[in-house]
Protein backbone atom coordinates (compact mmCIF):
# COMPACT_ATOMS: atom_id res chain seq x y z
CA UNK A 1 0.00 0.00 0.00
CA UNK A 2 2.76 2.38 1.04
CA UNK A 3 4.85 1.82 -2.08
CA UNK A 4 1.75 2.10 -4.25
CA UNK A 5 0.89 5.43 -2.60
CA UNK A 6 4.36 6.89 -3.15
CA UNK A 7 4.45 5.66 -6.74
CA UNK A 8 1.05 7.21 -7.39
CA UNK A 9 2.25 10.53 -5.96
CA UNK A 10 5.38 10.41 -8.10
CA UNK A 11 3.43 9.63 -11.27
CA UNK A 12 0.92 12.38 -10.49
CA UNK A 13 3.79 14.83 -10.04
CA UNK A 14 5.31 13.81 -13.38
CA UNK A 15 1.89 14.07 -15.01
CA UNK A 16 1.47 17.65 -13.75
CA UNK A 17 4.88 18.63 -15.07
CA UNK A 18 4.20 16.90 -18.39
CA UNK A 19 0.82 18.63 -18.68
CA UNK A 20 2.37 21.99 -17.92
CA UNK A 21 5.31 21.74 -20.30
CA UNK A 22 3.19 20.40 -23.17
CA UNK A 23 -0.39 21.67 -23.11
CA UNK A 24 0.08 24.80 -20.95
CA UNK A 25 3.24 25.80 -22.73
CA UNK A 26 1.66 25.53 -26.20
CA UNK A 27 -1.53 27.29 -25.16
CA UNK A 28 0.45 30.19 -23.63
CA UNK A 29 2.59 30.50 -26.73
CA UNK A 30 -0.49 30.55 -28.94
CA UNK A 31 -2.25 33.04 -26.73
CA UNK A 32 0.77 35.38 -26.75
CA UNK A 33 1.02 35.08 -30.53
CA UNK A 34 -2.66 35.95 -30.97
CA UNK A 35 -2.34 38.83 -28.51
CA UNK A 36 0.68 40.18 -30.31
CA UNK A 37 -0.59 39.85 -33.87
CA UNK A 38 -4.33 40.42 -33.83
CA UNK A 39 -5.04 42.32 -30.66
CA UNK A 40 -6.91 45.63 -30.63
CA UNK A 41 -3.60 47.39 -29.99
CA UNK A 42 -1.89 45.77 -33.00
CA UNK A 43 -4.79 46.71 -35.27
CA UNK A 44 -4.40 50.28 -34.03
CA UNK A 45 -0.72 50.13 -35.00
CA UNK A 46 -1.60 48.94 -38.52
CA UNK A 47 -4.24 51.72 -38.88
CA UNK A 48 -1.72 54.25 -37.64
CA UNK A 49 0.93 53.17 -40.16
CA UNK A 50 -1.63 53.32 -43.02
CA UNK A 51 -2.57 56.85 -41.94
CA UNK A 52 1.09 57.85 -41.83
CA UNK A 53 1.65 56.37 -45.31
CA UNK A 54 -1.34 58.30 -46.73
CA UNK A 55 -0.13 61.53 -45.12
CA UNK A 56 3.35 61.12 -46.59
CA UNK A 57 1.84 60.30 -49.99
CA UNK A 58 -0.19 63.52 -49.93
CA UNK A 59 2.88 65.59 -49.14
CA UNK A 60 4.95 64.18 -52.03
CA UNK A 61 4.91 66.08 -55.34
CA UNK A 62 4.74 62.86 -57.29
CA UNK A 63 3.66 59.66 -55.48
CA UNK A 64 3.11 57.45 -58.55
CA UNK A 65 5.47 57.48 -61.51
CA UNK A 66 3.78 58.88 -64.75
CA UNK A 67 4.14 55.55 -66.61
CA UNK A 68 2.63 53.65 -63.63
CA UNK A 69 -0.22 56.19 -63.40
CA UNK A 70 -0.90 55.71 -67.09
CA UNK A 71 -0.92 51.93 -66.71
CA UNK A 72 -3.26 52.01 -63.69
CA UNK A 73 -5.58 54.39 -65.55
CA UNK A 74 -5.73 52.06 -68.54
CA UNK A 75 -6.36 49.11 -66.25
CA UNK A 76 -9.18 50.90 -64.38
CA UNK A 77 -10.76 51.97 -67.70
CA UNK A 78 -10.61 48.41 -68.92
CA UNK A 79 -12.35 47.14 -65.78
CA UNK A 80 -14.96 49.91 -66.01
CA UNK A 81 -15.73 49.10 -69.65
CA UNK A 82 -16.00 45.35 -68.93
CA UNK A 83 -18.38 46.07 -66.07
CA UNK A 84 -20.47 48.37 -68.29
CA UNK A 85 -20.68 45.68 -70.99
CA UNK A 86 -21.94 43.02 -68.60
CA UNK A 87 -24.48 45.11 -66.69
Amino acid sequence: MKIFFYKAIFIFFLFLLGFHFSFNYTSKKLSNFVNEKISKDSIEVIKESIRAEIKSAIQKDEYIKPEDAKLINQFLNKIRSDLEKNK
Binding site: K2, F5, H20, S31, N32, D41, E44
Partner: protein, 549 residues
Protein backbone atom coordinates in the same frame (compact mmCIF):
# COMPACT_ATOMS: atom_id res chain seq x y z
CA UNK B 1 13.86 38.36 42.75
CA UNK B 2 17.16 38.86 40.93
CA UNK B 3 17.29 38.92 37.19
CA UNK B 4 20.01 36.83 35.61
CA UNK B 5 21.08 38.78 32.54
CA UNK B 6 22.83 35.83 30.90
CA UNK B 7 19.70 33.72 31.11
CA UNK B 8 17.49 36.52 29.96
CA UNK B 9 19.72 38.06 27.29
CA UNK B 10 17.89 36.42 24.38
CA UNK B 11 14.62 37.85 25.62
CA UNK B 12 16.23 41.27 26.01
CA UNK B 13 17.61 41.08 22.48
CA UNK B 14 14.19 40.16 21.12
CA UNK B 15 12.60 42.99 23.11
CA UNK B 16 15.23 45.39 21.79
CA UNK B 17 14.57 44.24 18.22
CA UNK B 18 10.81 44.66 18.51
CA UNK B 19 11.29 47.93 20.39
CA UNK B 20 13.41 49.39 17.58
CA UNK B 21 11.02 48.18 14.87
CA UNK B 22 7.96 49.52 16.69
CA UNK B 23 9.61 52.88 17.39
CA UNK B 24 10.59 53.22 13.72
CA UNK B 25 7.05 52.41 12.64
CA UNK B 26 5.41 54.64 15.26
CA UNK B 27 7.53 57.62 14.24
CA UNK B 28 7.16 57.16 10.49
CA UNK B 29 3.81 55.51 9.84
CA UNK B 30 2.19 58.68 8.51
CA UNK B 31 4.82 58.97 5.76
CA UNK B 32 3.31 56.01 3.90
CA UNK B 33 0.85 56.76 1.13
CA UNK B 34 -2.63 55.36 0.73
CA UNK B 35 -2.83 52.51 -1.73
CA UNK B 36 -5.45 52.48 -4.45
CA UNK B 37 -7.48 49.59 -3.05
CA UNK B 38 -7.94 50.92 0.47
CA UNK B 39 -11.19 52.58 -0.50
CA UNK B 40 -12.58 49.29 -1.78
CA UNK B 41 -11.58 47.51 1.43
CA UNK B 42 -13.26 50.15 3.54
CA UNK B 43 -16.37 49.83 1.41
CA UNK B 44 -16.17 46.03 1.67
CA UNK B 45 -16.05 46.24 5.49
CA UNK B 46 -19.07 48.56 5.73
CA UNK B 47 -21.03 46.63 3.12
CA UNK B 48 -20.77 43.41 5.11
CA UNK B 49 -21.31 45.18 8.41
CA UNK B 50 -24.51 46.55 6.92
CA UNK B 51 -25.45 43.04 5.79
CA UNK B 52 -24.92 41.61 9.30
CA UNK B 53 -26.79 44.52 10.87
CA UNK B 54 -29.69 43.83 8.50
CA UNK B 55 -29.71 40.11 9.33
CA UNK B 56 -29.74 40.78 13.09
CA UNK B 57 -31.95 43.89 12.88
CA UNK B 58 -29.47 46.36 14.40
CA UNK B 59 -31.32 49.43 13.16
CA UNK B 60 -28.75 52.04 14.28
CA UNK B 61 -25.89 50.17 12.69
CA UNK B 62 -27.86 49.82 9.44
CA UNK B 63 -28.25 53.61 9.29
CA UNK B 64 -24.62 54.36 10.13
CA UNK B 65 -23.23 51.87 7.62
CA UNK B 66 -25.58 53.16 4.90
CA UNK B 67 -24.23 56.68 5.42
CA UNK B 68 -20.66 55.37 5.37
CA UNK B 69 -21.27 53.39 2.16
CA UNK B 70 -22.67 56.45 0.39
CA UNK B 71 -19.77 58.55 1.63
CA UNK B 72 -17.15 56.09 0.35
CA UNK B 73 -18.73 55.25 -3.02
CA UNK B 74 -16.92 56.70 -5.99
CA UNK B 75 -17.28 56.26 -9.75
CA UNK B 76 -14.00 54.37 -10.08
CA UNK B 77 -14.75 51.76 -7.40
CA UNK B 78 -15.78 48.20 -8.19
CA UNK B 79 -19.27 47.28 -7.09
CA UNK B 80 -19.03 45.36 -3.78
CA UNK B 81 -22.36 43.61 -4.31
CA UNK B 82 -20.80 42.05 -7.43
CA UNK B 83 -17.23 41.64 -6.15
CA UNK B 84 -18.54 40.23 -2.88
CA UNK B 85 -16.24 37.26 -2.54
CA UNK B 86 -13.34 39.11 -0.99
CA UNK B 87 -12.74 38.03 2.61
CA UNK B 88 -13.85 40.19 5.51
CA UNK B 89 -11.57 38.96 8.25
CA UNK B 90 -9.76 42.30 8.44
CA UNK B 91 -12.10 44.73 6.68
CA UNK B 92 -15.18 44.04 8.77
CA UNK B 93 -13.64 44.38 12.26
CA UNK B 94 -11.85 47.53 11.08
CA UNK B 95 -15.12 49.05 9.90
CA UNK B 96 -16.66 48.14 13.23
CA UNK B 97 -13.79 49.86 15.11
CA UNK B 98 -14.15 52.87 12.83
CA UNK B 99 -17.75 53.23 13.99
CA UNK B 100 -17.08 52.22 17.61
CA UNK B 101 -14.24 54.72 18.10
CA UNK B 102 -16.02 57.33 15.97
CA UNK B 103 -13.04 57.85 13.67
CA UNK B 104 -14.35 60.24 11.04
CA UNK B 105 -11.22 61.58 9.38
CA UNK B 106 -10.60 59.27 6.47
CA UNK B 107 -6.82 59.37 6.63
CA UNK B 108 -6.89 58.56 10.35
CA UNK B 109 -8.99 55.52 9.48
CA UNK B 110 -6.44 54.36 6.95
CA UNK B 111 -3.44 54.91 9.20
CA UNK B 112 -5.22 53.07 12.00
CA UNK B 113 -5.68 50.14 9.61
CA UNK B 114 -2.02 50.35 8.54
CA UNK B 115 -0.89 50.13 12.15
CA UNK B 116 -3.21 47.25 12.97
CA UNK B 117 -2.10 45.34 9.88
CA UNK B 118 1.54 45.85 10.82
CA UNK B 119 0.94 44.66 14.39
CA UNK B 120 -0.60 41.43 13.07
CA UNK B 121 2.47 40.98 10.89
CA UNK B 122 4.75 41.55 13.87
CA UNK B 123 2.78 39.03 15.91
CA UNK B 124 3.14 36.49 13.12
CA UNK B 125 6.91 37.04 13.21
CA UNK B 126 6.88 35.85 16.83
CA UNK B 127 5.06 32.72 15.74
CA UNK B 128 7.64 32.26 12.98
CA UNK B 129 10.31 32.62 15.66
CA UNK B 130 8.62 29.77 17.58
CA UNK B 131 8.65 27.59 14.44
CA UNK B 132 12.39 28.21 14.02
CA UNK B 133 13.12 27.70 17.71
CA UNK B 134 11.26 24.37 17.70
CA UNK B 135 13.23 23.34 14.64
CA UNK B 136 16.78 24.51 15.45
CA UNK B 137 16.74 25.26 19.19
CA UNK B 138 19.28 27.94 18.39
CA UNK B 139 18.57 31.54 19.29
CA UNK B 140 21.05 32.94 16.79
CA UNK B 141 19.42 31.21 13.80
CA UNK B 142 15.90 32.01 14.97
CA UNK B 143 16.84 35.63 15.51
CA UNK B 144 18.37 35.85 12.01
CA UNK B 145 15.13 34.25 10.79
CA UNK B 146 12.84 36.88 12.28
CA UNK B 147 15.19 39.68 11.21
CA UNK B 148 14.82 38.50 7.62
CA UNK B 149 11.12 37.84 8.04
CA UNK B 150 10.35 41.34 9.33
CA UNK B 151 12.97 43.30 7.45
CA UNK B 152 12.77 42.01 3.89
CA UNK B 153 12.18 45.47 2.39
CA UNK B 154 9.22 44.63 0.13
CA UNK B 155 7.46 42.57 2.76
CA UNK B 156 8.05 45.22 5.43
CA UNK B 157 6.66 47.95 3.16
CA UNK B 158 3.64 45.91 2.15
CA UNK B 159 2.84 44.84 5.72
CA UNK B 160 0.97 48.14 6.23
CA UNK B 161 -1.37 47.57 3.31
CA UNK B 162 -3.41 44.70 4.82
CA UNK B 163 -3.58 42.65 1.66
CA UNK B 164 -0.89 40.20 0.66
CA UNK B 165 1.28 40.39 3.76
CA UNK B 166 -1.84 40.04 5.91
CA UNK B 167 -2.36 36.69 4.24
CA UNK B 168 1.31 35.87 4.83
CA UNK B 169 0.75 36.56 8.55
CA UNK B 170 -2.32 34.34 8.76
CA UNK B 171 -0.59 31.59 6.80
CA UNK B 172 2.27 31.70 9.32
CA UNK B 173 -0.24 31.17 12.15
CA UNK B 174 -1.82 28.34 10.15
CA UNK B 175 1.52 26.61 9.52
CA UNK B 176 2.42 26.89 13.20
CA UNK B 177 -0.80 25.15 14.26
CA UNK B 178 -0.47 22.72 11.36
CA UNK B 179 2.88 21.58 12.78
CA UNK B 180 1.44 21.36 16.29
CA UNK B 181 -1.55 19.44 15.02
CA UNK B 182 0.34 16.74 13.15
CA UNK B 183 2.31 16.07 16.34
CA UNK B 184 -0.59 16.14 18.72
CA UNK B 185 -4.11 16.16 17.39
CA UNK B 186 -5.64 17.42 20.62
CA UNK B 187 -8.94 19.25 20.44
CA UNK B 188 -7.24 22.61 21.12
CA UNK B 189 -4.76 22.17 18.28
CA UNK B 190 -7.42 20.92 15.89
CA UNK B 191 -9.67 23.86 16.77
CA UNK B 192 -6.92 26.46 16.36
CA UNK B 193 -5.81 24.97 13.05
CA UNK B 194 -9.42 25.00 11.79
CA UNK B 195 -9.77 28.60 12.91
CA UNK B 196 -6.63 29.83 11.17
CA UNK B 197 -7.26 27.74 8.05
CA UNK B 198 -10.70 29.36 7.82
CA UNK B 199 -9.14 32.82 8.23
CA UNK B 200 -6.54 32.07 5.55
CA UNK B 201 -9.20 30.77 3.14
CA UNK B 202 -11.22 33.89 3.88
CA UNK B 203 -8.29 36.03 2.76
CA UNK B 204 -7.05 33.94 -0.17
CA UNK B 205 -9.33 31.23 -1.42
CA UNK B 206 -6.54 29.11 -2.88
CA UNK B 207 -5.52 28.18 0.68
CA UNK B 208 -8.44 25.74 0.53
CA UNK B 209 -5.62 23.35 -0.41
CA UNK B 210 -4.41 23.31 3.25
CA UNK B 211 -6.87 20.61 4.46
CA UNK B 212 -5.70 18.41 1.58
CA UNK B 213 -2.05 18.95 2.53
CA UNK B 214 -2.95 17.96 6.09
CA UNK B 215 -4.64 14.81 4.85
CA UNK B 216 -1.61 14.00 2.72
CA UNK B 217 0.79 14.38 5.67
CA UNK B 218 -1.51 12.32 7.90
CA UNK B 219 -1.49 9.46 5.37
CA UNK B 220 2.31 9.48 5.26
CA UNK B 221 2.54 9.57 9.07
CA UNK B 222 0.07 6.75 9.48
CA UNK B 223 2.30 4.43 7.42
CA UNK B 224 4.61 4.14 10.38
CA UNK B 225 2.45 5.23 13.30
CA UNK B 226 -0.26 2.73 12.31
CA UNK B 227 -3.00 4.91 13.78
CA UNK B 228 -4.82 5.90 10.62
CA UNK B 229 -8.30 5.44 12.12
CA UNK B 230 -7.58 7.78 15.01
CA UNK B 231 -5.97 10.37 12.72
CA UNK B 232 -8.85 10.11 10.28
CA UNK B 233 -11.33 10.70 13.08
CA UNK B 234 -9.43 13.81 14.18
CA UNK B 235 -9.05 14.97 10.62
CA UNK B 236 -12.81 14.66 10.10
CA UNK B 237 -13.44 16.86 13.13
CA UNK B 238 -10.91 19.36 11.76
CA UNK B 239 -12.63 19.37 8.39
CA UNK B 240 -16.06 19.86 9.93
CA UNK B 241 -14.88 22.59 12.29
CA UNK B 242 -13.10 24.33 9.44
CA UNK B 243 -16.29 24.56 7.39
CA UNK B 244 -18.35 25.67 10.38
CA UNK B 245 -15.88 28.45 11.22
CA UNK B 246 -15.58 29.43 7.57
CA UNK B 247 -19.36 29.70 7.36
CA UNK B 248 -19.61 31.77 10.56
CA UNK B 249 -16.80 34.15 9.62
CA UNK B 250 -17.84 34.69 6.01
CA UNK B 251 -21.28 36.32 5.66
CA UNK B 252 -21.06 35.81 1.90
CA UNK B 253 -21.85 32.13 2.52
CA UNK B 254 -24.85 32.76 4.78
CA UNK B 255 -27.55 33.17 2.16
CA UNK B 256 -26.74 29.96 0.28
CA UNK B 257 -23.68 28.18 1.65
CA UNK B 258 -23.23 25.42 -0.92
CA UNK B 259 -24.01 27.33 -4.12
CA UNK B 260 -22.08 30.41 -2.97
CA UNK B 261 -19.12 28.28 -1.99
CA UNK B 262 -18.93 26.64 -5.41
CA UNK B 263 -19.48 29.98 -7.11
CA UNK B 264 -16.12 31.09 -5.72
CA UNK B 265 -14.43 28.48 -7.93
CA UNK B 266 -16.12 29.78 -11.07
CA UNK B 267 -15.37 33.39 -10.12
CA UNK B 268 -11.67 32.53 -9.85
CA UNK B 269 -11.65 32.27 -13.60
CA UNK B 270 -14.40 34.75 -14.46
CA UNK B 271 -13.79 37.73 -12.18
CA UNK B 272 -10.01 37.97 -12.15
CA UNK B 273 -8.70 40.85 -14.18
CA UNK B 274 -7.43 40.37 -17.71
CA UNK B 275 -4.93 43.11 -18.48
CA UNK B 276 -1.57 43.68 -20.10
CA UNK B 277 1.30 43.95 -17.68
CA UNK B 278 4.80 45.22 -18.03
CA UNK B 279 7.26 42.44 -17.41
CA UNK B 280 10.92 42.42 -18.37
CA UNK B 281 10.53 45.41 -20.74
CA UNK B 282 7.62 43.77 -22.64
CA UNK B 283 3.87 43.69 -22.25
CA UNK B 284 2.14 40.34 -21.66
CA UNK B 285 -1.44 39.38 -21.06
CA UNK B 286 -1.64 38.37 -17.40
CA UNK B 287 -3.48 35.22 -18.56
CA UNK B 288 -0.45 34.04 -20.51
CA UNK B 289 2.57 35.01 -18.45
CA UNK B 290 5.92 33.35 -19.07
CA UNK B 291 6.88 30.61 -16.60
CA UNK B 292 9.81 32.76 -15.52
CA UNK B 293 7.49 35.53 -14.27
CA UNK B 294 7.51 34.64 -10.58
CA UNK B 295 11.13 33.60 -10.39
CA UNK B 296 12.32 36.76 -12.18
CA UNK B 297 10.27 39.00 -9.93
CA UNK B 298 11.51 37.29 -6.79
CA UNK B 299 15.14 37.47 -7.89
CA UNK B 300 15.00 41.12 -8.88
CA UNK B 301 13.06 42.40 -5.88
CA UNK B 302 14.46 40.42 -2.95
CA UNK B 303 17.81 41.04 -1.29
CA UNK B 304 20.38 39.14 -3.32
CA UNK B 305 21.99 37.28 -0.39
CA UNK B 306 18.56 36.11 0.73
CA UNK B 307 17.98 34.71 -2.77
CA UNK B 308 21.26 32.79 -2.60
CA UNK B 309 20.59 31.40 0.85
CA UNK B 310 17.11 30.24 -0.17
CA UNK B 311 18.31 28.76 -3.44
CA UNK B 312 21.02 26.65 -1.83
CA UNK B 313 18.79 25.72 1.13
CA UNK B 314 15.99 24.58 -1.14
CA UNK B 315 18.29 22.63 -3.47
CA UNK B 316 19.95 20.99 -0.48
CA UNK B 317 16.64 19.90 0.99
CA UNK B 318 15.28 18.78 -2.42
CA UNK B 319 18.31 16.53 -2.89
CA UNK B 320 17.84 15.12 0.57
CA UNK B 321 14.14 14.37 0.05
CA UNK B 322 14.82 12.83 -3.40
CA UNK B 323 17.44 10.62 -1.85
CA UNK B 324 14.99 9.53 0.85
CA UNK B 325 12.20 9.05 -1.69
CA UNK B 326 14.16 6.65 -3.86
CA UNK B 327 15.22 4.58 -0.85
CA UNK B 328 11.69 3.93 0.43
CA UNK B 329 11.17 0.37 1.58
CA UNK B 330 7.85 -1.43 1.91
CA UNK B 331 8.53 -1.97 5.61
CA UNK B 332 10.46 0.35 7.88
CA UNK B 333 10.31 1.14 11.59
CA UNK B 334 10.94 4.81 10.85
CA UNK B 335 9.24 7.19 8.54
CA UNK B 336 10.75 6.97 5.08
CA UNK B 337 10.64 10.66 4.21
CA UNK B 338 11.85 12.16 7.47
CA UNK B 339 13.33 11.24 10.81
CA UNK B 340 12.12 13.02 13.92
CA UNK B 341 10.32 16.25 14.64
CA UNK B 342 12.88 18.55 13.05
CA UNK B 343 12.90 16.91 9.66
CA UNK B 344 9.12 16.68 9.84
CA UNK B 345 9.00 20.50 9.98
CA UNK B 346 11.31 20.70 6.95
CA UNK B 347 9.09 18.29 5.06
CA UNK B 348 5.88 20.18 5.85
CA UNK B 349 7.31 23.50 4.70
CA UNK B 350 8.77 21.86 1.61
CA UNK B 351 5.39 20.33 0.72
CA UNK B 352 3.65 23.68 1.24
CA UNK B 353 5.97 25.65 -1.05
CA UNK B 354 6.08 22.92 -3.72
CA UNK B 355 2.31 22.48 -3.86
CA UNK B 356 1.59 26.20 -3.88
CA UNK B 357 4.17 26.86 -6.58
CA UNK B 358 2.96 23.95 -8.74
CA UNK B 359 -0.64 25.12 -8.35
CA UNK B 360 0.23 28.59 -9.58
CA UNK B 361 2.26 27.19 -12.45
CA UNK B 362 -0.07 24.45 -13.65
CA UNK B 363 -3.28 26.44 -13.32
CA UNK B 364 -1.60 29.35 -15.06
CA UNK B 365 -2.56 31.80 -12.29
CA UNK B 366 -3.30 35.24 -13.74
CA UNK B 367 -0.80 37.16 -11.64
CA UNK B 368 -0.28 40.90 -11.76
CA UNK B 369 1.54 43.62 -9.81
CA UNK B 370 4.76 41.67 -9.54
CA UNK B 371 4.77 38.79 -7.08
CA UNK B 372 2.64 40.48 -4.45
CA UNK B 373 -0.07 37.80 -4.71
CA UNK B 374 2.51 35.25 -3.60
CA UNK B 375 4.32 37.30 -0.96
CA UNK B 376 3.31 34.52 1.42
CA UNK B 377 6.08 32.43 -0.18
CA UNK B 378 8.49 34.60 1.78
CA UNK B 379 7.79 32.39 4.84
CA UNK B 380 9.32 29.46 2.96
CA UNK B 381 12.13 31.53 1.46
CA UNK B 382 13.29 32.57 4.90
CA UNK B 383 12.80 29.09 6.31
CA UNK B 384 14.99 27.44 3.68
CA UNK B 385 17.51 30.28 3.90
CA UNK B 386 17.87 29.45 7.60
CA UNK B 387 18.05 25.76 6.68
CA UNK B 388 21.12 26.53 4.59
CA UNK B 389 22.63 28.71 7.31
CA UNK B 390 22.23 25.82 9.75
CA UNK B 391 23.96 23.52 7.25
CA UNK B 392 26.85 25.98 6.90
CA UNK B 393 27.07 26.38 10.66
CA UNK B 394 27.48 22.63 11.07
CA UNK B 395 29.99 22.37 8.24
CA UNK B 396 32.11 25.27 9.50
CA UNK B 397 31.98 24.25 13.15
CA UNK B 398 35.60 23.16 13.26
CA UNK B 399 36.97 25.92 11.03
CA UNK B 400 36.94 28.94 13.29
CA UNK B 401 38.34 31.43 10.74
CA UNK B 402 35.75 30.53 8.11
CA UNK B 403 33.03 30.56 10.71
CA UNK B 404 33.96 34.09 11.81
CA UNK B 405 34.23 35.28 8.22
CA UNK B 406 30.85 33.80 7.45
CA UNK B 407 29.38 35.46 10.55
CA UNK B 408 30.71 38.87 9.45
CA UNK B 409 29.31 38.46 5.90
CA UNK B 410 25.95 37.43 7.34
CA UNK B 411 25.70 40.41 9.68
CA UNK B 412 26.77 42.74 6.86
CA UNK B 413 24.15 41.30 4.52
CA UNK B 414 21.38 41.62 7.09
CA UNK B 415 22.47 45.18 7.81
CA UNK B 416 21.92 45.88 4.10
CA UNK B 417 18.24 45.00 4.61
CA UNK B 418 17.98 47.54 7.43
CA UNK B 419 19.79 50.11 5.33
CA UNK B 420 17.40 49.50 2.40
CA UNK B 421 14.41 49.95 4.70
CA UNK B 422 15.70 53.37 5.75
CA UNK B 423 16.83 54.33 2.23
CA UNK B 424 13.57 53.35 0.54
CA UNK B 425 11.30 54.86 3.18
CA UNK B 426 8.32 55.22 2.62
CA UNK B 427 8.52 53.18 -0.58
CA UNK B 428 9.94 49.93 0.83
CA UNK B 429 7.19 47.99 -0.95
CA UNK B 430 8.81 49.04 -4.25
CA UNK B 431 12.24 47.68 -3.40
CA UNK B 432 14.47 46.30 -6.15
CA UNK B 433 17.96 45.02 -5.47
CA UNK B 434 20.88 46.86 -6.99
CA UNK B 435 22.32 44.05 -9.06
CA UNK B 436 20.33 44.95 -12.16
CA UNK B 437 20.56 47.93 -14.47
CA UNK B 438 18.25 50.92 -14.25
CA UNK B 439 16.67 50.05 -17.60
CA UNK B 440 15.97 46.48 -16.47
CA UNK B 441 14.38 47.57 -13.20
CA UNK B 442 12.14 50.13 -14.90
CA UNK B 443 11.09 47.42 -17.33
CA UNK B 444 9.05 45.90 -14.48
CA UNK B 445 5.85 47.32 -12.95
CA UNK B 446 6.74 49.99 -10.40
CA UNK B 447 4.22 51.73 -8.16
CA UNK B 448 1.13 49.60 -8.82
CA UNK B 449 -0.34 50.53 -5.42
CA UNK B 450 -0.18 54.23 -6.30
CA UNK B 451 1.49 55.05 -2.99
CA UNK B 452 3.56 57.74 -4.69
CA UNK B 453 0.38 59.83 -5.08
CA UNK B 454 0.72 61.38 -1.61
CA UNK B 455 4.30 62.43 -2.28
CA UNK B 456 3.25 63.82 -5.69
CA UNK B 457 0.46 66.02 -4.28
CA UNK B 458 2.73 67.30 -1.52
CA UNK B 459 5.35 68.17 -4.14
CA UNK B 460 2.85 70.09 -6.28
CA UNK B 461 1.60 72.03 -3.26
CA UNK B 462 5.18 73.18 -2.66
CA UNK B 463 5.60 74.61 -6.16
CA UNK B 464 2.11 75.83 -7.02
CA UNK B 465 -0.19 78.06 -4.98
CA UNK B 466 -3.16 78.18 -7.36
CA UNK B 467 -6.53 77.77 -5.69
CA UNK B 468 -7.49 74.85 -7.94
CA UNK B 469 -4.93 72.70 -9.67
CA UNK B 470 -5.95 70.38 -12.49
CA UNK B 471 -3.94 67.20 -12.67
CA UNK B 472 -4.09 64.54 -15.40
CA UNK B 473 -2.85 60.97 -15.10
CA UNK B 474 -0.83 59.29 -17.83
CA UNK B 475 -1.05 55.81 -16.32
CA UNK B 476 -3.52 53.23 -15.06
CA UNK B 477 -3.57 54.64 -11.52
CA UNK B 478 -6.71 56.11 -9.92
CA UNK B 479 -4.67 59.02 -8.61
CA UNK B 480 -7.57 60.77 -6.86
CA UNK B 481 -7.69 57.98 -4.26
CA UNK B 482 -4.25 59.04 -3.06
CA UNK B 483 -5.73 62.41 -2.05
CA UNK B 484 -7.27 60.76 1.00
CA UNK B 485 -3.83 60.64 2.60
CA UNK B 486 -3.84 64.46 2.80
CA UNK B 487 -5.68 67.01 4.92
CA UNK B 488 -9.11 68.05 3.65
CA UNK B 489 -7.93 71.61 2.89
CA UNK B 490 -5.18 70.36 0.60
CA UNK B 491 -7.44 67.69 -0.92
CA UNK B 492 -9.90 70.31 -2.13
CA UNK B 493 -7.23 72.16 -4.11
CA UNK B 494 -6.81 69.29 -6.55
CA UNK B 495 -9.00 68.32 -9.44
CA UNK B 496 -7.96 65.05 -11.06
CA UNK B 497 -9.07 65.05 -14.71
CA UNK B 498 -8.00 61.54 -15.77
CA UNK B 499 -6.67 61.46 -19.33
CA UNK B 500 -8.17 64.85 -20.32
CA UNK B 501 -4.68 66.22 -20.80
CA UNK B 502 -5.90 69.46 -22.42
CA UNK B 503 -7.53 70.46 -19.12
CA UNK B 504 -4.49 69.78 -16.98
CA UNK B 505 -1.68 71.93 -15.72
CA UNK B 506 0.33 68.94 -14.51
CA UNK B 507 0.51 65.33 -15.57
CA UNK B 508 1.38 62.47 -13.23
CA UNK B 509 3.01 59.49 -14.89
CA UNK B 510 4.28 56.11 -13.71
CA UNK B 511 4.89 52.88 -15.65
CA UNK B 512 1.59 51.19 -14.74
CA UNK B 513 -0.57 50.53 -17.78
CA UNK B 514 -3.31 48.00 -18.56
CA UNK B 515 -2.59 48.29 -22.29
CA UNK B 516 0.61 47.86 -24.25
CA UNK B 517 2.02 51.39 -23.92
CA UNK B 518 4.55 50.80 -26.66
CA UNK B 519 1.77 50.66 -29.25
CA UNK B 520 -1.28 52.16 -27.54
CA UNK B 521 -0.67 55.87 -27.07
CA UNK B 522 -3.45 56.35 -24.50
CA UNK B 523 -0.92 57.30 -21.81
CA UNK B 524 1.46 59.29 -24.01
CA UNK B 525 2.23 62.70 -22.55
CA UNK B 526 1.30 65.45 -25.08
CA UNK B 527 4.18 67.37 -26.67
CA UNK B 528 3.19 70.65 -25.02
CA UNK B 529 4.15 69.27 -21.58
CA UNK B 530 7.71 69.12 -20.24
CA UNK B 531 9.12 67.02 -17.45
CA UNK B 532 9.81 69.07 -14.34
CA UNK B 533 10.40 66.41 -11.71
CA UNK B 534 11.16 62.75 -11.30
CA UNK B 535 10.79 60.79 -8.04
CA UNK B 536 13.42 58.12 -8.02
CA UNK B 537 14.46 55.71 -5.31
CA UNK B 538 17.45 53.51 -5.99
CA UNK B 539 17.19 52.87 -9.72
CA UNK B 540 13.39 52.84 -9.84
CA UNK B 541 11.45 55.81 -11.20
CA UNK B 542 8.38 55.97 -8.98
CA UNK B 543 6.65 58.77 -10.84
CA UNK B 544 7.34 61.70 -13.17
CA UNK B 545 5.70 65.11 -13.23
CA UNK B 546 5.05 67.04 -16.45
CA UNK B 547 3.97 70.68 -16.61
CA UNK B 548 2.18 72.48 -19.44
CA UNK B 549 4.58 74.81 -21.32
Amino acid sequence: MKLNFNKQKNTYLLLLFYGVVLSFVYLNIRDFGIHIEEKFHRLNGHYWLNYIATVFHFENLIEITKIKINEISDYSLSNVSYYNKYGIIFDLPMSFFEILFKIDDVNKIYYFKHLFSFLIFLLSSLVFYRILQDRYENFFLSFIGISLYVCSPRIFGDSFFYKDVLFLSFLTFTIYFFLKCIRNMSFNNVFLLSLFTAFSVNLRFFSIIIPFILFFVIIIKSFYLKNFKYMLKRFSSYFLLFFIILFITWPYLWSNPIINFFEIFSSLNKDLIDVKILFNENYFSNRALPDTYLVSWIIISSPIFQNFLFFFGFILYSLRICNRFFKIQSYSVYNDLWRGKREETDFVLFIFITIFYLLFLVFNAPLYNGWRLVYFLNIFFIYFAIYFLNYLKIKLRKKKTYENLFFIILIFSISLNYYSIVKYHPFQSLYFNNFFSERKINGFEGDYHGIGAKDFFERIIEIDDDKIINVAVASHTPLHRGLEALDVKIRDKFNVVGQEYHLAKYIYKNNISEVNSYINKKYEVPANFSKIYEKKIGKLIIYEVFQKD
